[in-house]
Amino acid sequence: MTPQQENPQPGEGGFLKNLWKTLMRPSGRFSLGTLVVAGAIGGILSWGGFNWAMEMTNTETFCLSCHEMEDNVYREYKNTIHYNNRTGVRATCPDCHVPKEWGHKVMRKIQASNELYHHFLGTIDTREKFEAKRITLAKNVWRVMKRTDSRECRNCHSFDYMDLKMQESRARKRHVDALDEGKTCIECHKGVAHELPEGVYEAEREVVNESGG
C-alpha cells in the first residue's frame, strides 16, 4: 500500500466520494453532546419548516393564486353550502381535495406537480377549454374519492353521528340503503360544490362499471 492510497488528496475520487468520506469520519473536535443537541435542533427546524411550507400550499389563498381555480371552480363553489351557510362553518379547497393524514397528503402533493405542469402548459386557461375538459377532471376526482371511500368527506361527515331521524324521508331511506350496501358519499353526492359536467349520468355509470359495480 502506498501513502497516497491511505490519505487521498482532495479532488481525487470525485466530489461525492470525498463528501461521503468526510461524513463517515468520526468528529475529533465536537463533543457527542453538542452533535446530538445540534442534530436535534436542526431536525426540528427542518422537519417543522418542511411541514410549514407544505401547509402554506394547503390554503385557499394558495389554490386561488392560479386563475384557473379562481375563475372556474371557486366561482361555482361560492354558491354552495360548503362556502356559505347558516352556521358559518366552511370547507375550503384543501379540506375536500387534500388528505389530512400525512402520508396521503405528501402523495397528493407529489401528484399535484402534474397540475402545475398543465398550468404552465395552459391546458385549461380559458373557460371554454375548462368546460371541454370538465368531464375528464370530474371523473378523476370521482374515481379517487370512490377509491378512498370519500375519506375527505368523512373528516367532517360520519354515518356514526348522522341523526337519520332529522333527515327528510328521501334522504333517510337512501342513507340507510347506502349503509347496507357499503356505498360511499361520492356515489350519490356529485356536484356538491361545483357544477356538474355535461353527460354526467353516462360518465357516472362508466366510473361505477370500471370499479366493478
Binding site: 354552495t80 327528510e168 324521508s169 328521501r170 356536484g191 357544477e195 359536467p197 355535461e198 354526467v200
Partner: protein, 150 residues
C-alpha cells in the same frame, strides 16, 4: 290679445303646473303587483318560509295543473349542461329510484316527433313544476279549485 294667444298662455300655465307638481304623489296612486310602493323605493322582502318536505303530495287543483314538487329542489342544478331532476325522474332512473316518471308528453317535440330523450322545450322543469308550499297567495284572487267527488 288674440284668442290664440290666450289659448297658448292657458296651455302654458296648465303645462307648467302639471310638470312642477310633485311626481311622487302621482306615482303613489298607481297600484301595481308590488303594491303601493313608490317607484324609487325598494319594497320589503317577503318573509322566507322554510319549506317542509314531509307533508305528502298536494292534490292538483285542476286537470292540466303541472304536479307540484313534494321535496326540496333548491340545490338542484338545471342549466344548459345538466338537469338534476332527470337523475331520478327520467327513464330508466325512475325505476331504480322509485320516483314518478316524467310524463310521456314531455318526450315529444313541438312537431310531434317522438324522442328518446326529454324534449328541449320541456328541459327547464321549474318553469311549470314548483316546490309545494302552504304559503299565502302573493296576489289575492278568487280562484276556487275544482271539487270532484273521489
Amino acid at each position: 290679445m288674440k284668442p290664440v294667444h290666450i289659448a297658448l298662455g292657458a296651455f302654458g300655465l296648465i303645462f307648467a303646473v302639471a310638470t312642477l307638481s310633485p311626481i311622487p304623489a302621482l306615482a303613489g296612486d298607481v297600484q301595481s303587483l308590488r303594491g303601493k310602493t313608490e317607484i324609487p323605493e325598494i319594497n320589503p322582502t317577503p318573509e322566507l318560509t322554510k319549506q317542509r318536505a314531509d307533508k305528502g303530495r298536494f292534490t292538483r287543483n285542476y286537470r292540466q295543473q303541472p304536479p307540484l314538487v313534494p321535496h326540496k329542489i333548491a340545490k338542484y342544478e338545471i342549466d344548459l349542461k345538466v338537469n338534476q331532476c332527470l337523475r331520478c325522474h327520467d327513464w330508466p332512473y325512475n325505476v331504480e329510484e322509485n320516483a314518478p316518471k316524467v310524463s310521456e308528453t314531455h318526450y315529444t317535440d313541438r312537431d310531434g316527433t317522438a324522442l328518446d330523450h326529454i324534449a328541449r322545450t320541456r328541459w327547464f322543469c321549474t318553469q311549470c313544476h314548483v316546490p309545494q308550499e302552504d304559503a299565502p297567495a302573493l296576489v289575492r284572487n278568487t280562484f276556487k279549485p275544482l271539487q270532484r267527488k273521489q
